[in-house]
């Protein structure tokens, strides 16, 4: 009886907060609606009006179901936080795909859901067809999704919609953002948005000016600048045209995006620390150390292996280092054609890309992958184990690592880091196996699987509207798992399985 009661109230808590997040996204749809309205794109205006109506109806229904949560000020438990985060992403994937589907640029709802999940998770793979002719309103929506997804939908809702609640931290952690910049969670969420919005102004301005210098008209340069900044900062990889970053044929445009996607892949805690005057953090932090080592090594190996293909150092830097860093920061901007990875870069180039795509950027950033922090922790623990073996048994040495502040390298931290890395590798392996099962080569399957698992977005040519539906579904799951770092999704599955089990017991008893 107690179990059923607690499950009932848990459902209401989950419905209430999921409803708040859904309403937040309905409000967000006003931005592409207004854009389309101002640009007199009447079909997208209608698409967004329909989408807003459906999303608001779903959000309000969920809030009404759980309204007692607000009245009773119910305490949010860890399971609620995780389930709300994981469930919101699934509901929002379907709701946000409505404008895509209504636009007629996708073959099916599955393709629309794929593109939305790719946007939310800042992956950047697309199944949208005739990208060069989609409306500015839909382009605004695509890039807005990737920008919001990078910061996190729960973070957005906590910042602007949900009043300070007891246990809000659990909602926030559920979305794999587990750093407290200030004691207050709402304050932390607002700082994340403040940093992103300041960079939005700086980055859009830089790309707008550069866009005009390379020959775009001012209005077009503005929209291109805004969209490309949103993709860069969110390490997303979407572009408003099918040629991606190649469309601009500009070294300066590539360098500006490179600066902002490297910055986007850094931890929000690190940005905040530097903005607070702790400049040494950029050198001392285990994450930046790990990123610098892996970025230098992977770039150097790739340059050694591939420099023969390109005529000079500028060309090598643009084609090799840019793509390696785009993969490492999990951005996914590509300035060579997809098949060139397979046909020109060869197996060694593909291997480097797979490794850096899986490593990814920093924890609590917009980047994906299993994160430099975890690589650093696991590497440091191996190093400390070797040191322990070599030192005298009487010596008891405490090993530490620095990440904003000093932490003791405890077994629990190492275990959870290793566990997440293993989960990523299992997801990547299944994706690779699935690709080979459907007839793609091993190297191509591994590249594409690493790209979806690490939320990167570079493609070797597998992702297309004609690929098997099973692979589309698996890639959606893979992007989703990779972004939420497994725990929330496992908690949601456990929660629903528990509910089904209780229901079965109840039916059997009656």
């Amino acid at each position: 009886m107690t179990n059923s009661k607690s499950s009932f109230s848990s459902s209401k808590i989950i419905c209430y907060y999921t409803g708040c997040i859904v309403i937040g996204i309905a409000l967000l749809m006003l931005i592409p609606l207004v854009t389309s309205f101002l640009l007199r794109e009447w079909n997208p205006v209608l698409d967004f009006l329909i989408s807003i109506a459906i999303t608001t109806a779903v959000g309000l229904t969920l809030i009404i179901i759980g309204i007692k949560t607000r009245e009773n000020k119910v305490y949010v438990q860890w399971k609620h936080g995780f389930v709300v985060a994981a469930l919101s992403w699934i509901i929002l994937m379907v709701l946000c795909s409505i404008p895509y589907r209504l636009s007629g640029h996708n073959n099916s709802l599955l393709d629309s859901c794929f593109d939305v999940m790719s946007g939310f998770t800042t992956t950047g793979l697309i199944l949208t067809q005739d990208l060069d002719h989609i409306s500015i309103g839909l382009n605004m929506w695509r890039h807005l999704l990737t920008f919001v997804g990078g910061q996190g939908m729960v973070v957005l809702a906590l910042s602007f919609l949900v009043k300070e609640i007891s246990g809000a931290y659990k909602l926030y952690v559920g979305e794999a953002k587990d750093i407290g910049l200030v004691p207050n969670v709402k304050g932390t969420a607002r700082i994340i948005w403040k940093i992103s919005l300041v960079y939005l102004v700086v980055g859009t301005l830089a790309l707008w000016i550069d866009g005009m210098l390379i020959g775009l008209n001012p209005v077009s340069a503005f929209f291109h600048g805004l969209f490309m900044f949103e993709s860069s900062w969110s390490t997303g990889g979407f572009a408003p045209n099918s040629q991606n970053i190649m469309y601009y044929h500009s070294f300066s445009y590539e360098i500006i995006t490179l600066i902002f996607f490297i910055l986007g892949s850094l931890n929000f805690g690190l940005h905040y620390a530097i903005w607070q005057g702790k400049k040494k953090e950029i050198i001392k932090n285990i994450e930046t150390q790990s990123f610098m080592i892996t970025a230098f090594l992977s770039s150097a190996f790739a340059v050694i292996a591939l420099s023969k293909i390109y005529p000079n150092s500028i060309s090598t830097f643009r084609r090799v280092v840019y793509n390696v860093l785009s993969a490492h920061t999990t951005t996914g901007f590509g300035n060579i054609y997809a098949r060139q990875f397979a046909l020109e870069w060869g197996d060694f180039g593909t291997l480097i890309m797979v490794i850096v795509m899986l490593i990814g950027g920093s924890a609590c950033s917009t980047a994906g992958g299993f994160k430099g922090l975890r690589v650093g922790i696991v590497f440091k623990s191996i190093l400390s184990d070797v040191k322990k073996l070599l030192s005298s048994e009487r010596n008891v040495k405490v090993f530490k690592y620095h990440h904003i502040k000093d932490y003791v390298l405890e077994d629990g931290v190492v275990r959870s880091s290793a566990l997440i890395i293993i989960c990523y590798i299992i997801t990547f392996t299944i994706g690779t196996a699935l690709g080979t099962y459907y007839g793609y080569s091993f190297a191509d399957s591994a590249f594409e699987s690493a790209s979806v698992t690490g939320n990167v977005g570079l493609s070797i040519g597998i992702t297309s509207p004609s690929m098997p539906s099973v692979m589309k579904v698996y890639y959606i799951i893979s992007m989703y798992l990779g972004r939420l770092e497994f725990l929330s999704v496992f908690a949601m599955v456990g929660y629903f399985l528990g509910g089904i089990k209780r229901l079965c017991v109840k039916i059997r008893q009656s």
Partner: protein, 32 residues
């Protein structure tokens, strides 16, 4: 005021640091 100044300095510092990082990577490309 002091807080805003510190934030602007931090922002510029980050931009410069990333530019230095990219320059080093370019030099690696040049010499390898």
């Amino acid at each position: 005021m002091q807080k805003t100044k510190s934030e602007i300095v931090g922002l510029v510092f980050e931009l410069v640091a990333v530019c230095v990082f990219i320059t080093v990577l370019y030099l690696i490309t040049l010499f390898l």
